[in-house]
Subunit: 151 residues, 2 copies
């Protein structure tokens, strides 16, 4: 829970900067080695929390393979970020809120990308960590956005 | 062809730095606005040519949405990069070599990610531009790698 709490703190930093509140933390041997929050609106389409955390961790370990590292993210990763998690060889993905999906399976889940990205490496995935807090933060952000847009 | 030629030039720069030779170029109104090559080994798991080109283009246009922009890449994008292309709202993806796939469809193609990433935006995809040159450069790189590893 401790690491997802830190990811939530990161997400709240994004919220304050009017970015979709998503945070990520990378952990090795029970120590946080990188943390980041979503900066898409103010920089680049690729600056999601996971990508920024992976960049920091790779820099720290001087390796593009983050062997023995786990990532905690407040929201189930998008296709780009799930691909990045696999490219970085992250061992375990813990996420909070579940991303939108549909009953017919028309939207790729992180689990399906994990299975079918074409890499030998697979990541263990556990969803729903502090799910309520993570989900509430995001729904609250979009609710506020709608209210502000009507003002 | 001109833009894929430039992407190939970028890929050759990666080759010289002992990186898998992949290059990317982003074009708006028939003008190149960003170019980049794969830097994964020397920096981060996310530093593929496409991600770096998208970051440069977003910085240049001061927008995470690359409306009216096309991307030229020497190799069919991985899941991370295809996700990034969609997140950046790129209009048209032109790629050179086809990525590995299998007959059973067990590996996600850029086309399938395009259809199922869960975004309203879709990218038009055209593969096989300067396919021979793009494919040869990559196979030559891995051939040389195997020879060097045996020395």
């Amino acid at each position: 829970m401790e690491f997802m709490q830190e990811a939530l703190k990161q997400a709240k930093k994004a919220y304050k900067k009017d970015e979709v509140p998503i945070g990520a933390v990378i952990v090795k041997n029970d120590k946080m080695i990188a943390k980041a929050y979503n900066k898409r609106e103010h920089s680049s389409a690729t600056y999601h929390a996971e990508i920024l955390a992976i960049n920091k961790a790779c820099k720290k370990l001087k390796d593009f393979r983050l062997i023995g590292c786990d990532i905690y993210v407040t929201l189930e990763p998008c296709a780009m970020c799930m691909g990045a998690i696999l490219n970085a060889r992250l061992e375990h993905l813990y996420f909070g809120a579940y991303a939108k999906s549909d009953a017919k399976g028309n939207i790729l889940s992180s689990e399906e990308i994990n299975e079918r990205a074409g890499l030998n490496h697979k990541t263990v995935i556990t969803g729903g960590i502090l799910q309520n807090e993570c989900t509430l933060l995001i729904t609250d952000y979009f609710k506020q956005k709608r209210i502000n847009n009507k003002l």
